[in-house]
């Protein structure tokens, strides 16, 4: 599980004598093993900074962040998968070699590689594309490959930073369904950052609303799974979430509304 206690983060001033930028203030959040949490906020609310801290990329912060009892970034025993907004694949490596890169980086023993690649490439539907280079694949395929790469190191936690916001809505829909299916099978803890209230409502067990570096509210999502994109209860929940968000931010920086016809 993830335990965040009193987390704060300040960026040093850009100019000498300028004001430091406080991006995170007193964040407290517990995330259970296998839970799917969406962090909802407008751009600049500090949600990406929070993910970087969870990933161990940024260790200069106040407060404590522990994953399974280890401080984030402190030990290799802790495997964290990261899915970025862009695919961030290595263009000079084939699909399979991109996964090899992650396996090498995470020091997975060579004997396990073949099995893991079969499993995760199969699960994202790219088994037949092992030799393809990223530029030969569509945006959706590349993001699925990035997902397979994140999963292949079999992380305790999967972090996702608006991973579908660069995709067209139809592809994104399919990816959301895929991610729920994979989550149901693999039972990873997922922290998913998004500015899209509908996406959060569709995916999450719990929605955490962030604004100006603070957690303002957590909303439990009572919808049963598997969920349906066209479920009326989903739309009702989405309206509640958007309303709460607007109350908190005073109508500023509203998250994305569901598109007409959804």
């Amino acid at each position: 599980m993830i335990r965040i206690t009193g987390l704060s983060k300040k960026f040093p001033p850009r100019r000498a004598g300028g004001a430091a930028l406080q991006v995170l203030r007193d964040i407290n959040l517990d995330i259970a093993e296998g839970e799917f949490v969406c962090i909802l906020g407008a751009s600049g609310c500090g949600k990406s900074t929070l993910l970087n801290i969870l990933a161990g990329l940024d260790r200069t912060h106040g407060g404590e962040v522990a994953i399974d009892g280890h401080a984030a970034g402190a030990t290799r025993a802790l495997r964290v998968g990261y899915l970025f907004q862009e695919d961030r694949l290595l263009p000079w490596r084939s699909a399979e070699q991109n996964i090899d890169f992650a396996l090498t980086a995470a020091r997975v023993p060579q004997g396990e590689w073949a099995g893991r690649k079969d499993r995760w490439l199969g699960m994202v539907g790219l088994d037949g594309f092992r030799g393809y280079f990223p530029h030969q694949m569509s945006g959706g395929m590349r993001q699925r490959l990035a997902l397979a790469r994140a999963l292949a190191i079999e992380p305790q936690v999967l972090l996702m930073d608006e991973p579908f916001s660069g995709l067209d809505e139809l592809t994104a829909r399919k990816m959301r369904a895929d991610i729920l299916r994979i989550w149901a099978e693999a039972r990873k803890t997922i922290v998913f950052v998004t500015h899209n209230a509908f996406e959060a409502s569709f995916l999450a067990d719990r929605i955490v609303i962030m604004a100006e570096g603070r957690i303002h509210e957590t909303i439990a999502v009572p919808l049963p799974r598997p969920r349906d994109h066209d479920d009326d209860a989903l739309f009702a929940l989405n309206r509640v979430v958007v309303r709460r968000f607007l109350d908190i931010t005073g109508g500023q920086d509203a998250p994305v509304q569901p598109h007409a016809g959804e």
Binding site: A55, L90, W92, A102, R107, H135
Partner: protein, 250 residues
């Protein structure tokens, strides 16, 4: 295929123009392509080509090595550190601006009329253009990919040869290409200045004897060898190194 045909046509046209021009000028002033190639073939037959071309190639290789050894670390440093960039960029510009003849003269005066001086002069002339290319390449490294590698806990070596090197390699190739172009020309000049052999020496020798047939023959040889390196060696190398790119033909 079309490109190849276009190239062939342009070569044929140039040869025709050369022939036509040589018809109107006296033979000893401007011989045609046939005369020049015959002279070249004679030189190949009597072995002088291999001796002089060989020694020039060695100097070019040595010069390129020195240029890389000096130029590449400076380029990397300037790409990584703003301080180094701000301190050194004016000097790179100055080094680029100094005429190559000056490097040659200074080296021959300071180091003496020897092989060392020649190779060092060639290397010094080539170094700044290598620095410029590699500096540009290191500056353009994608920070987002570095962050990805860090998120997967890649160690330094893995980051270096899987993430950094593939991004810098095209710039290294460009710098080699560019550096070689500069170095070929300076090598010939340096040989003319202070060496008793090599293609540059031969050019100067025949120039003093006013033998245009031989001057053109050596120029032709030199150009052909350079074209071979550029069009065959570099093309093959790039195709192998950058096979992952969407389009490599340009």
């Amino acid at each position: 295929m079309r490109e190849l045909a276009l190239r062939l046509v342009s070569v044929v046209c140039a040869l025709a123009a050369w022939t036509a021009l040589s018809r109107y000028l006296p033979d000893d002033l401007f011989p045609g392509p046939l005369a020049a190639s015959t002279a070249l073939l004679e030189n190949i037959a009597n072995g002088s080509v291999f001796k002089h071309l060989g020694i020039t190639m060695l100097r070019v290789a040595g010069g390129l090595l020195i240029a890389m050894v000096i130029g590449a670390p400076l380029g990397i440093l300037m790409g990584l550190s703003r301080l180094a960039e701000k301190t050194l960029d004016i000097w790179v510009m100055i080094a680029l601006a100094v005429p190559s003849l000056c490097y040659g003269l200074v080296c021959f005066i300071v180091l003496g009329l020897n092989e060392w001086a020649a190779v060092v002069a060639i290397g010094l002339t080539g170094a700044p253009s290598i620095t410029v290319n590699i500096w540009e390449g290191v500056k353009n490294i994608d920070a987002r990919l570095l962050q990805m590698a860090q998120a997967f806990r890649a160690n330094r070596w893995l980051v270096l040869y899987r993430v950094v090197l593939p991004q810098v390699l095209p710039y290294v190739m460009a710098s080699l290409r560019f550096g070689l172009g500069v170095i070929w020309k300076i090598a010939v000049l340096i040989e003319l200045l202070g060496r008793p052999d090599g293609v540059g020496f031969q050019l100067y020798y025949w120039y003093q004897l006013a033998d245009m047939r031989q001057v053109l023959a050596w120029t032709l040889l030199f150009t052909l060898v350079m074209l071979f390196i550029e069009l065959v060696l570099f093309k093959v190398l790039e195709r192998r190194l950058f096979a992952w790119r969407p389009t490599v033909s340009a």
